[in-house]
């Protein structure tokens, strides 16, 4: 469903800090997959999302989404099909609007934002049902401003809003990293439920190795702008946290060796 081919991306072009992240990145995301993505800082996980979502433009290469080249489509037009939940719970909701108003807007995604009433009262029951399924008691707080909610509640709401109108692709950008362990677990459960219920193709970046192994059916590891690990199904299931740590260490060691060879 999404195919990145021969992607090249440089940062700080023309400065002493010029940094080539991707030389020739190729990746094919298939319909219905739930991919978890891991990698150390600066490995290219975030840029990967930014290039898919249209926040950043690649220097070279093509992005085919359902057979169409979307490399030049602006971010807001891509987001009609590609939903994204950020690490920061504040990014997915509007704090000075109420829960009801936020949900109503999410429901209207892809339709016209015209002069009809912002809140459609006939959807009230539908929203209450959706909120009830979160088990956070939000269904009784429909008229509270979202700014008064906790980070976990806001992230649950962000997730609900991102999937309110079924997206074709869901990008989860370390969306549990800013939460406490208990809330983080709750959000992961919710994620798995929503994704399987609505059958959404999903890519999730995470720092949590256990999460990366427990969730999803394919695992990708980035290192220095390259995919160093890409496992599916049985191979992924057999993997343990220790294996991943060993892989990390091996990569870092190689990196240090390379450096010392050059310096030496």
């Amino acid at each position: 469903m999404l195919r990145l081919s021969n992607i090249e991306k440089r940062f700080y072009v023309g400065t002493p800090h010029e940094n080539q992240l991707y030389q020739d990145l190729n990746i094919h995301i298939q319909d219905g997959e739930f991919i978890t993505v891991i990698g150390s800082n600066g490995s290219g996980k975030s840029t990967f999302f930014n290039i898919i979502a249209g926040t950043l433009q690649p220097d070279q290469g093509s992005i085919l989404f359902k057979g169409q080249d979307i490399a030049h489509l602006p971010e807001h037009l891509r987001s009609r099909h590609i939903a994204r939940v950020y690490q920061d719970p504040l990014k997915g909701t509007a704090p000075s609007l109420t829960i009801l108003e936020n949900l109503s807007m999410a429901y209207n995604k892809g339709k016209k934002f015209n002069l009809s009433r912002g809140v459609d009262q006939s959807l009230l029951e539908h929203f209450k049902q959706e909120l009830k399924s979160l088990n956070l008691g939000l269904e009784d707080k429909l008229n509270n401003r979202v700014g008064t909610l906790s980070g976990g509640q806001r992230q649950a709401l962000s997730l609900l809003m991102a999937t309110m109108v079924q997206p074709e692709l869901l990008l989860l950008d370390e969306h549990t990293a800013a939460l406490d362990p208990k809330t983080s677990e709750l959000i992961i459960d919710l994620t798995q439920r929503l994704v399987s219920e609505k059958e959404i193709t999903t890519v999730m970046v995470t720092h949590n190795l256990k999460q990366a192994l427990d969730v999803g059916d394919r695992l990708i590891m980035f290192h220095k702008g390259q995919i160093v690990l890409d496992l599916r199904g049985e191979e992924k299931r057999k993997l343990s946290v220790m294996d991943l740590i060993a892989k990390f260490n091996e990569l870092n060691l190689m990196h240090e060796l390379n450096d010392s060879l050059i310096l030496g």
């Binding site: 987001s79 997915g92 909701t93 000075s96 016209k112 912002g118 809140v119």
Partner: protein, 305 residues
Amino acid sequence: MLSFGIEVLNQGLAYGVLAIAVTLTYKILDFPDLSVDGSFPLGSVIAAVVLLKWGSIPLALLLAFIGGLGAGLLTGFLHVKLKISNLLSGILVMTGLYSINLMIADNRSNLPIFNVKTMFTVGAWVEKLPLDLQPWVTKFYSTLILLIVIVLLKLVMDWFLETKLGFLLRITGDNPQLVIALGEDIGKTKILGLMLSNGIAAFSGAIAMQMFRFYDISLGSGIVVVGLASVVLGTSVLSFMKSWKITTLVVLGSILYRLSISVALALKLPPSNLKLITAIIFILALVLNNKELRPKFLKGWDKHA
């Protein structure tokens, strides 16, 4: 005393229209728009010229509003399409409009409109009223007209802010990322908000000019601060009325602001100190608005709402 009160109220209401315009950019879009300093007198001069040439009040108000829409469009274009910072876009449009306003007035910096009918001119019908009623109607006519205008505007704004498009504008100031996530072009939303705000500001300029029966190019200088002071006064001093709509609060803020200015003048402060007084009132309102700086006796001011 009564005429002092009426004058304060009238000015507060006329500039209350401006306060609503400024609310739209500062409070809702989170866009510090200085172009209002140019679009306010733009509305004044357009209305003055139309009244002098054709004598049509509705046309004067309509064209003033449209002129303001144009000014807002320009600010939005500079910021969104040419990627100029929001403050600078406003300053550039404000500066450019100074010359445009002069051009519209045929290179004159003021136009008196003493001899033409304005929206505040009492018609001949007043003579048909009972004799003892006539002086009262004449006295309160301007206030009545202003009240009708401001209530209508407030209701329209309240309605607009509850529509889907209105929600989108509110989200633009609240969380721009969410506008993009909703699949909408945030640039367009900003331009729309700026157009509306400047249109209303120009409309306010047209009303104020008719109240003074005089256009002067300096009508607009520092007007954005006046509008902003009203907004801050309305939302800080009156913050205990939390359940009130912001459109009501800022109009009350505008009346409060006029009252403070008038009191200062009544205390025999020279009019040349006016801008200084405005700045001081503004600072006071900001301090009141800041929970940490708020004087002790005012702590908990807005808690009992």
